[in-house]
Amino acid sequence: MYPLLAKELAEILSGRALWTMLLLICPLIGFSFIEAVSLYSEASTAALQSPAAAATLSPLDGILVPTFGSFYVAVTLLFPFVAIRVLGQEKESGALRLLVQLPYRSSTLVLVKLAAILAAWAAASIPVLSTLLIWALLGGHLGASETANLLFGHSLYGLLVGAISLFAATISDSSATAAIVALATTIGSWVLDFTLAGRPGLSAWVAKLSLTQTLQSFEQGLLSAGLVLGMVTVVGGLAALSTVWLPPGTPTRVKFARSVPCVLATIVALGLAAQIGASADVTEDRRNSFSPADQKLLATLRLPLVVTVDLAPEDPRYIDLRRNVLGKLERAMPNVSIVLAGVRQDQAGQSDAYGQVEYVYGGRTDFSRSTSPREILPLLYELAGTKPPAPIQGPEYPGYPLVANANVTLLWFFCGLPLLIALAWWWSRLSPAVKS
């Protein structure tokens, strides 16, 4: 398999798409990073006088997410052209007819192409990875787990875009058509997210399928088992479909017939992944968790907790409640059910109960309109008949304010790095010397 992988990597390196993408994203990422550092420094200037303000400054939110956000845009728009090349070039040159004759199964060919796509993504991430090094050199702090989690999320996203592009290349006659199919999927996903997110019912469920939503958890510092499994499932499903559609000699009706079980298995696996609620809070400031003492006590409350929320899903109060209380409760307690009362925001003023949240635990019920854990946790402990825990002494999150000027990195992103990339491109095109 290694000669095959070497061939695929050589194919990607010999094409223009990867190098062009690298050259284009250098200024994009550089600009995003410099702007992020500038804004972070402004906020840090005020926070240096106040420990409370300093504690709100997290490099994850202030530096990493905005910088990687520009990388996400580049991957969505440009990476399909890189990924399509692993198959599109062979289809157009006719070399696919040679490839399928090699003593490898179609599934092996597809898996090796996916591995090459992942390697291409790793190469394309060099500019954004350099921002981590520069931030560290400027004296900035990087939380290991939250940074690794964000990188992991982006690598999964890159693999997902790559798998979509590979499948598009498999079913299309030309690279141009494959690019249209892939971009229609990735950009169409943006449209889905923009128009349907925040709406109730089926729209909310469909909006969750958007590719944009896949990165949100990682950006919030959550490692969600269900989400990771879901993304891996979709990548696997697309790889399986690519395997079905790759061989040129198989009749189309047979390919369609073989695709049906692949699609059904993917849907079932996605459904199962969606049931997995386990997730880990990997942030340094534990923003997705209650205090350690509360987490410990809540884990012992084993009876079912049913929370009925009389708020529209697009209501900002519900979004606050979800972020500050409900999401944390789902991770802390073993048995939590959250039910939306099915209200739309245009009906909000019609009911006195609108805005009320009902908590039922162990046969006891209480109501609250608060979205803050300071009011909700004591309410829950009272329902459970237990006292609030004594706080566990431990270090508070200090925050990491930093006043720095990253303008000098303009030279790196606009000159130095593009020059290195251009040199690497030139070097890759040198033919190896053949010994006579």
């Binding site: 040159s93 040129p248 009749p251």
Partner: protein, 208 residues
């Protein structure tokens, strides 16, 4: 439908591959129909015919790169389904330029021939192996093919230039309109057509 007599040369070569009643249609038109022949070890078999005769479709159907509508292949007497054909047969296609940015057409062509000759397969299908080569290069390739055939490999070559085919092939399959119009060695074809000293070109024109 015309069938080929089993090839016998010297001590008698073993039949490796038999194509039985292969057919492929595109919409209402038959690209190939009722094609039956065999290929033996050490034999160079030439499929000759004009452009559009069905040569490429026949080779691709044999290699399993195009799904045949009917017919099958036998390998050493056993059925060879499309999914298993790449274990026995290697097909060197025409018009493939894997390194079109770096190499000329001729160099790409030589690269493909080298790839085909390096494979371990006992039967090699080649589509227009002499296309784009000059006379000297063609003679070199003929020499290489004959040497490989002498070592026991069977070659099935699709060739539209009859002079090249006459130079390299032991037997010929004359294909026109997707159907076999004549099959056998040059001597056998001369006997069939009654043209005792005829060239392959004259025989082809007589039979098609």
């Amino acid at each position: 439908m015309m069938t080929a007599p089993d090839f016998a040369r010297g001590g008698g070569s073993m039949e490796l591959l038999r194509v039985v009643d292969l057919a492929k249609h595109y919409d209402e038109e038959a690209a190939i129909a009722g094609v039956t022949f065999s290929a033996a070890a050490g034999e160079v078999l030439g499929i000759v015919g004009p452009n559009g005769a069905g040569k490429t479709t026949l080779l691709e159907a044999m290699a399993g790169l195009v799904g045949a509508d009917s017919g099958n292949l036998l390998w050493l007497g056993d059925a060879l389904p499309p999914a298993h054909r790449k274990a026995a047969i290697f097909y060197v296609p025409d018009g493939v330029k894997p390194y079109q940015d770096r190499f000329s057409k001729g160099y790409n062509r030589r690269l493909l021939l080298a790839i085909g000759l390096l494979t371990p397969h006992r039967v090699l299908l080649m589509d227009e192996p002499f296309d784009g080569f000059d006379l000297r290069q063609t003679r070199n390739i003929v020499e290489v093919v004959r040497k490989a055939a002498g070592a026991g490999r069977a070659f099935i070559l699709a060739i539209h230039q009859l002079a090249d085919a006459e130079r390299v092939c032991d037997r010929f399959i004359l294909l026109a309109g997707g159907q076999i119009r004549g099959i056998g060695s040059l001597r056998e074809l001369r006997t069939q057509t009654g043209i005792s000293q005829g060239s392959l070109e004259e025989i082809f024109l007589a039979l098609t």
